[in-house]
């Protein structure tokens, strides 16, 4: 290079690329104004943003009401976030006794801390396992009470965010291993097990979750002897687990079938038995392949927990809707649903973010 520039007489001075093709301007030209069509689209999008964003910010933030009464909200043009702040305790904790609501709050905090710690694979080990066991016990104790001087709270009174997280976290945690077992069963050589798994998976996938929840809450009690009632939350939880497991099973089966035949043969030639083959060779690889589809199932299962509203469990969605039936707050559904969407988005985004991280870490390149 230097010899060429040197021969041109501009000793020691390199010419940079033209200013219009680097930096901000270059990026804009390359990505936004690349040809007439793209320039037009860029302008159209800019116009749309200009037309919608300022009014939205005016409505949501500048004119927004945060801690006012419903009458003041009505007089104002802006968003009425007071519908959230005035009812936040009912929205988050439902029927949980008002002066005991620190307990579900603490339980949720414990759960989030544990989930956050589990995110980092460096902490995976015996300590974290004990942490989870201890945490689960503490959460159960906090919610249920009845020991160590905590007043007992009936599970009928659980609601809001703790209920949503409970249904989601336990539903997903229990459905995943169950789904893996079902997938293995479907691949099995043993006809009875195979038939059972196939029938189970096809049957469950053939009905919508709503009808399973209805069955668990409306039809199932008719078959129980009078006076014997199974906990409603438990019934819904079991329905969610059974349902999600069937979908997980099919995804995992995809991973199992994607494995090279040679992996099985290699395991056999090493003299590993079935369980060793699966645990040491096949599943670690198969489950890694299916991380993206299983996470999308888990995300949709998380959102599906809101279907428990139809069996009158007061999850986060239902408590919010109940708030909106109060004549004082009836007109503010946009604000309430935006708030809900934010909570759901945070949870789902955390899940998909984690899955990408896991994928990257586990990518060992074969």
């Amino acid at each position: 290079m230097t010899s060429i520039t040197g021969s041109g007489g501009h000793a020691g001075r390199e010419l940079g690329p033209p200013v219009t093709s680097i930096g901000v301007i270059g990026w804009v030209r390359a990505n936004l104004c690349n040809g007439w069509l793209n320039t037009g689209l860029t302008l159209a999008v800019l116009y749309l943003l200009w037309a919608t964003l300022p009014p939205f910010f005016n409505w949501a933030l500048l004119d927004g009401n945060w801690f006012t009464s419903s009458e003041q909200c009505k007089a104002s043009e802006g968003a009425c976030w007071s519908v959230i702040t005035a009812n936040i305790r009912f929205i988050l904790f439902g029927f949980y006794p008002h002066d005991l609501q620190w307990r579900p709050l603490l339980a949720v905090v414990i759960l989030i801390v544990l989930l956050f710690l589990s995110r980092n694979r460096r902490f995976w080990g015996r300590g974290l396992l004990y942490g989870w066991l201890l945490g689960l016990f503490a959460m159960g104790l906090l919610l249920k009470g009845g020991m160590f001087g905590l007043v007992a709270v009936d599970s009928d009174n659980w609601g809001g965010l703790p209920l949503t997280l409970l249904l989601a976290v336990f539903g997903l945690a229990a459905a995943y291993p169950f789904g893996v077992v079902l997938a293995l069963g479907r691949q099995s050589q043993m006809p009875v097990i195979k038939a059972f798994c196939v029938v189970y998976i096809e049957l469950i996938r053939g009905v919508p979750l709503i009808s399973m929840l209805f069955m668990s809450s409306v039809v199932f009690p008719l078959f129980l002897p009078e006076g014997m009632t199974l906990n409603k939350i438990l019934r819904a939880q079991v329905a969610i687990i059974l349902f999600t497991a069937a979908y997980i099973a099919e995804v995992v089966r995809g991973g199992l079938q994607g494995m090279n035949r040679g992996q099985y043969e290699a395991a056999e030639s090493l003299g590993l038995n079935y369980f060793q083959t699966m645990r040491l060779i096949i599943l670690p690889q198969a489950l890694k392949i299916v991380i993206p589809p299983s996470v999308s199932i888990l995300i949709s299962a998380f959102k599906d927990t809101s279907l428990v509203v139809i069996i009158a469990l007061y999850d986060l969605l239902k408590t919010t809707q109940t708030t909106l039936t109060d004549p004082k707050w009836m007109g503010y559904s946009a604000e309430a649903y935006l708030f809900l969407a934010l909570i759901y988005f945070l949870c789902c985004y955390a899940m998909s973010n984690y899955s990408r991280k896991l994928e990257k870490e586990l990518d060992t390149g074969h």
Binding site: F90, H98, V218, A312, T322, T323, T325, G331
Partner: protein, 339 residues
């Protein structure tokens, strides 16, 4: 297969047996578990809905509390199960709830085929229309060709169709799932008028951006006697629920309120003495404590107090007594003598 065939009669027998158990002794069951399990609405302001602290409020809720007060002498010994319009009757049939106080309209079909028994009506409702003034309509008869916002799956939808057919008019129903969304759609102009129970219309109008722009039409197009229900066949339990509602009405007629009930026990009026259990007899007849009616009035109130507290002029619903006034003031609330 043969095994399955053998199992079918067994299952059927078991079902019949459990159904048999359900018929007898609800009172003993309730006393055994220590609380009344009541099915309520959960989303209907003024009738059954939790407030921002999660405390249940409403006319139906207070009716269930009256039953608890009659049985246990403690109006708080009641647990509420929120039920949807679809699950409410199954929940009662399966024994999940002991009494259904969920603004259910008493009809012949429900009273017979569904295996329910309705007791004294606790609210006489009827279906009406809410219209914007700018529509220029003064009577429901002028609504020909209108689009109507309506909730699905209730008697409301059916009444609406019946009314328009009777009057040889056409309409376009706009079906929306929840009450809050229904109001929003109506105020946004997605339909010309909104139909719902009259008890709801005033509340919906109150949340309008400008309530004076809207009017409730004079026509009431249906009869909606909202009554608590119990399972068919347990007569003692039905009597208790029935007289718990009637006690609130009788108390109003006798002028007994939660404030003056203690002084009233000293009253010389033999009707009041019998009612409050100073002269025993009524409690024994129902299988309850003699102070059952006293406890209802003391802890829950008489019908007027319950009405005003939940749906009356001081609430956002601002309902007038109308049909729900005592018979002595031109309404339909009439209790048989307590003796």
């Amino acid at each position: 297969m043969a095994r399955v065939q053998r199992m079918v009669p067994a299952v059927v027998t078991a079902l019949c047996l459990t159904a048999g158990v359900a018929v007898a002794g609800t009172l003993d069951d309730v006393k055994g578990k220590g609380f009344v399990q009541a099915g309520v609405n959960g989303e209907l302001f003024g009738f059954g809905k939790p407030d921002e602290k999660g405390v249940w409020k409403g006319l139906d809720v207070d009716t269930a509390r009256a039953v608890a007060a009659a049985i246990f002498g403690d109006a708080e010994k009641v647990k509420f199960t929120p039920l949807t319009a679809k699950t409410r009757f199954t929940a009662l049939q399966s024994g999940e709830v002991d009494v259904l106080t969920r603004n259910a309209t008493q009809t012949l079909g429900r009273d017979t085929e569904l295996g329910l028994d309705f007791v004294q009506v606790n609210y006489y409702d009827g279906q009406g229309f809410l219209v914007p003034n700018k529509l220029g309509v003064k009577s429901a008869k002028e609504l020909d060709g209108a689009s109507v916002c309506v909730l699905p799956g209730t008697t409301t939808e059916q009444n609406l169709a019946d009314y328009f057919r009777q009057n040889k008019m056409t309409m376009k129903p706009v079906v929306i799932e929840s009450n809050a969304e229904l109001a929003k759609a109506f105020f946004a102009g997605r339909c010309d008028c909104l139909t719902s129970d009259a008890s709801q219309l005033a509340g919906i109008r109150a949340v309008a951006p400008n309530p004076t722009d809207y009017a409730i039409l004079p026509e009431i197009i249906s009869k909606e006697p909202l009554a608590p229900a119990v399972r068919h066949g347990d007569n003692q339990w039905k009597d208790i629920v029935n007289y718990a509602v009637l006690a609130m009405i009788e108390a109003e007629e006798l002028g007994i309120t939660s404030k003056n009930v203690d002084e009233m026990t000293a009253s010389a009026d033999p009707r009041i003495q019998r009612f409050l259990g100073v002269t025993p007899g009524n409690g024994k007849a129902l299988g309850l404590d003699e102070k059952w009616a006293y406890n209802i009035v003391k802890q829950v109130g008489n019908y007027s107090e319950v009405f005003e507290r939940n749906v009356g002029a001081a609430t956002p619903l601002m309902l007038k007594r109308g049909l729900n006034a005592l018979w002595t003031s031109g309404g339909l609330m009439y209790s048989p003598p307590f003796k």
